[in-house]
């Protein structure tokens, strides 16, 4: 599995929809969820490959604009997810809703990334920083 990260094709409509309306109806894509799928992320993905099967809720991340090649040209989401069971985590998504159920489902995915398989014990966590640079 190789590291890869994309604003997925289906997520581009989220980016577009956030532009429209003085109070956009499109929620911020700031909800982090991790998964155990080990395939390399693709731009054609639609979400996680495999959820953990445990009850970690989606984390409401902190979203902000940060400076890249242009002032404020990046969107950055930070958030921490803590393992409720022994897990090997290999992917993460940003969703536009906190979702429902355990593990949570629902909403639309904006970004999907695969990363090195990371074995966690119960109580261990990953603090993610996901940054989209619109003018690399």
């Amino acid at each position: 599995m190789a590291a890869a990260a994309f604003i997925i094709n289906a997520g581009k409509q989220i980016t577009a929809a956030r532009h429209v309306g003085s109070t956009p109806s499109q929620p911020e894509p700031k909800f982090l969820q991790w998964g155990v799928g080990t395939s390399t992320a693709l731009v054609t993905d639609t979400g996680l490959q495999s959820t953990t099967g445990t009850t970690e809720a989606r984390t409401t991340g902190s979203i902000s604009n940060v400076t890249g090649a242009q002032t404020g040209s990046k969107v950055q989401v930070t958030g921490t997810i803590t393992a409720l069971a022994a897990l090997t985590i290999a992917e993460v998504v940003l969703m536009d809703t906190v979702g429902t159920g355990s593990p949570p489902t629902g909403g639309n995915c904006w970004a999907h990334a695969s990363h090195g398989s990371t074995t966690l014990a119960i109580g261990e966590s990953i603090a993610y920083t996901i940054t989209a640079d619109f003018t690399p």
Partner: protein, 62 residues
Amino acid sequence: MSHDTAQETLVEVTGIVRRLVPCPEHEQDPPGVQLERRNPNGYHHDCAACAAMTPTLEPLEA
């Protein structure tokens, strides 16, 4: 219309993995301890040795 692939959005993911160091009293962090029964550092909250422990931080592997 022009399309410059160098202008595609670049997405970067980094992370810090917070790992629990085995507690000397428990040899390892006791499995199955509910998170609400853990101290703020993630260890068993009833154990003084656990309370003295702090997790280690390591970068998420790409």
